[in-house]
């Protein structure tokens, strides 16, 4: 199996063209194997033991996990990603259609979202909230080892974003920046509504372009694997509570208390204005002072 495509030009020189598309199948098979193995492991290990929920927590009935802006962003990014993957790989699989224009438009939408998301995150000073640092990674590996030896810790409750979320986000960010950067370079070589094609932009050599295409293909194929994992975890029964949130925006009080540590995720600072009515009801129900440790 070849991992890269290499051609020979009339001078007899080898020219790197990009990723061999057999790698796509490798990723699909690897993704399928992961899903099967993980699914079997999880079914053998039984239902997770969830911690007991405290009686009077002051947390509202519904806790906003994904506000409207986050949900719209997620689904816009999902639409752009699916469009990019379909227009990239379906023609390679043999179904031909005019894909180039749709692909670059979806790519620009993807890029615009990344820019917006980066500026928004910096503006909210929450850049660090999704960063999985070295110490956290080491601790997480230790917990994973412990889990495989003795089973899970029922009392382990996480902040809003667990280590797994952060790590996944980091890999997606890396693949996204790679595919976006190379994609923008490639985009300069085609006609768009905004500029005229310049096939020899920056005067890059054939070999350099080969590297650009290789990186673009590698990141794109990586996205296929990431998408398989993302969809698999989204539709797992034990994760449906969080999947519902990306549609409806909220998780229940019990789900919040079972999975999250209120000390690490202060829902009162989470912008729960959407559910003001719930909060008011909760505050009335819990009596004076409830709002101090509930959702505001």
């Amino acid at each position: 199996m070849d991992f890269v495509r290499i051609a020979t030009n009339p001078w007899g020189e080898a020219v790197l063209l990009g990723l061999a598309w057999e790698v796509l199948w490798l990723v699909v098979v690897a993704g399928a194997v992961f899903v099967v193995v993980h699914g079997i492991f999880k079914s053998k290990s039984g239902r997770p033991r969830l911690p007991e929920v405290g009686a009077a927590s002051g947390v509202p009935e519904k806790v906003v996990r994904h506000n409207l802006s986050a949900r719209l962003s997620h689904w816009m990014l999902a639409a752009a990603t699916f469009t990019l993957l379909i227009t990239a790989f379906v023609p390679i699989l043999g179904l031909q259609f005019p894909w180039v224009t749709v692909h670059w438009i979806a790519g620009l939408v993807f890029g615009a979202y990344v820019v917006y998301h980066t500026i928004d995150t910096i503006g909210r000073k929450s850049l660090a909230s999704m960063w999985a640092g070295v110490q956290e990674t080491v601790e997480s590996i230790g917990r994973a080892k412990e889990f495989f030896r003795h089973g899970g810790d029922p009392d382990e409750r996480t902040p809003k974003w667990a280590f797994e979320n952060k790590a996944f986000h980091q890999v997606v960010a890396l693949a996204g920046l790679a595919v976006l950067g190379t994609g923008l370079l490639m985009c300069l070589r085609i006609d768009t509504y905004f500029w005229v094609a310049n096939p020899y932009v920056f005067g890059l050599s054939d070999s350099t372009w080969g590297l650009v295409y290789l990186l673009h293909g590698f990141a794109a194929v990586g996205f296929v694997g990431l998408l398989i994992a993302h969809i698999y975890f989204a539709i797992r029964p034990d994760n449906l509570w969080i999947t519902r949130s990306i549609f409806k925006g909220w998780i229940t009080r019990d789900e919040f208390l079972q999975h999250h540590d209120p000390a690490q995720w202060n829902v009162s600072e989470n912008g729960n204005r959407v559910l003001a009515a719930d909060q008011a009801e909760a505050a009335v129900g819990a009596g004076p002072g409830a709002g101090h440790h509930g959702a505001e």
């Binding site: 495509r5 051609a7 020979t8 030009n9 009339p10 020219v15 063209l17 990009g18 023609p91 043999g94 031909q96 259609f97 005019p98 894909w99 180039v100 224009t101 070589r189 085609i190 006609d191 094609a197 096939p199 020899y200 054939d206 372009w209 080969g210 650009v212 295409y213």
Partner: protein, 333 residues
């Protein structure tokens, strides 16, 4: 540049005598197989060793692919019908003289006696960067060498280029599109009829192919309906050497003229895009108008409205404009 060898590379040669046998071979070998018809495109590739198929399926012995016959109000031309047969066929000349004219402008007499209609419409582009073995977009690479600032692109595309600027070299293609022909494409999965206009594809759809034909497909016949039989038609080809070369530009037109007014029209240009390009904007603009200088000027102007010349082919703008004007004027002359 392309290296000429004394010997072609080795391949397995199959010479099926029946259509189903050929289709089975194509299904079995898929993209490893190469269809050999008249051989005029094929042997360039094989001798230059720019393409090295593992299997060659010679369909020359399949009788079902030959012949020209009247079918309903139109005619059916087998894909293996020689171009010379089309030129001299009385029914083709009586009903579709434009097609006979187009076939008669293909290359040289020797080639027209060997070349087939199926081969003429299925042949690959003549871009010499591509045919010389450069790993360009069309060859699966990342670059168009013909679109470099100093590239020799005098013969290349004026319209619809998308990364690749190669043009379709077929002369009969524009005529078939103008006549609303249907291409009969078979595989082991069955038979499908593809309008000639959709048979040819541009680089935005598939940059490595010029037609919709999949590796397992075989073009078996071309059906020309009666719609344009006996209508006012015209074909003209402009080439560097009139007796031999591929088209710098060609045009095919079919007009339904009633009481001096154009009722309906087909205008198709070739040699200026990766596929024979039907000029619907021109067709719509001239419908309902008399054939006069004003109509011709408008048609010529609209014909080149979206032209995007390369470094050395801007002359094709004036060429195309004038070809289209002549195709309307001369069709009824």
């Amino acid at each position: 540049m392309g290296e000429i060898h004394d010997m072609m590379g080795t391949f397995e040669l199959y010479q099926p005598m029946e259509l189903n046998g050929a289709l089975d071979l194509l299904r079995s070998h898929g993209s490893d197989a190469w269809i050999l018809s008249g051989g005029l495109d094929t042997f360039d590739w094989l001798k230059d060793r720019a393409k090295s198929p593992r299997v060659v399926v010679d369909v020359g012995g399949i009788e079902e692919l030959r012949g020209i016959e009247v079918s309903g109000d139109g005619i059916r031309i087998g894909a293996m019908a020689r171009l010379q047969e089309i030129i001299s066929h009385p029914e083709v000349n009586a009903r579709y003289p434009m097609l006979a004219n187009a076939a008669g402008r293909v290359a040289s007499p020797q080639i027209r006696h060997q070349g087939t209609l199926g081969g003429n419409v299925s042949q690959d582009t003549r871009c010499w960067y591509y045919r010389s073995g450069w790993p360009c977009y069309r060859a699966g690479g990342n670059t168009c060498y013909a679109n470099a600032p100093d590239a020799l692109n005098r013969e290349h595309a004026l319209f619809d280029s998308n990364r690749c600027v190669a043009v379709s070299p077929t002369d009969t293609g524009p005529a078939l599109v103008a006549l609303d022909a249907q291409m009969e494409v078979r595989s082991t999965a069955g038979t499908r009829m593809v309008p000639a206009e959709n048979f040819f594809i541009g680089p935005s759809t598939d940059i490595t192919r010029m037609t919709v034909m999949e590796p397992t497909d075989l073009l078996t016949a071309i059906h020309i309906p009666g719609r344009w039989a006996g209508a006012a038609t015209y074909f003209e080809k402009v080439a560097d050497r009139g007796s031999w070369d591929f088209a710098l530009g060609n045009v095919a037109s079919a007009l339904d003229v009633r009481n001096g007014t154009i009722f309906e029209a087909r205008i198709v240009v070739g040699g200026v895009a990766a596929r024979p390009l039907r000029l619907r904007r021109v067709e719509n603009a001239i419908a309902g108008r008399p054939i006069n200088e004003e109509t011709l000027e408008e048609a010529g102007r609209l014909a080149v409205q979206n032209a995007r010349p390369l470094q050395f082919n801007a002359y094709k703008i004036a060429l195309t404009r004038n070809l289209v004007k002549r195709a309307i004027r001369e069709a009824t002359a």
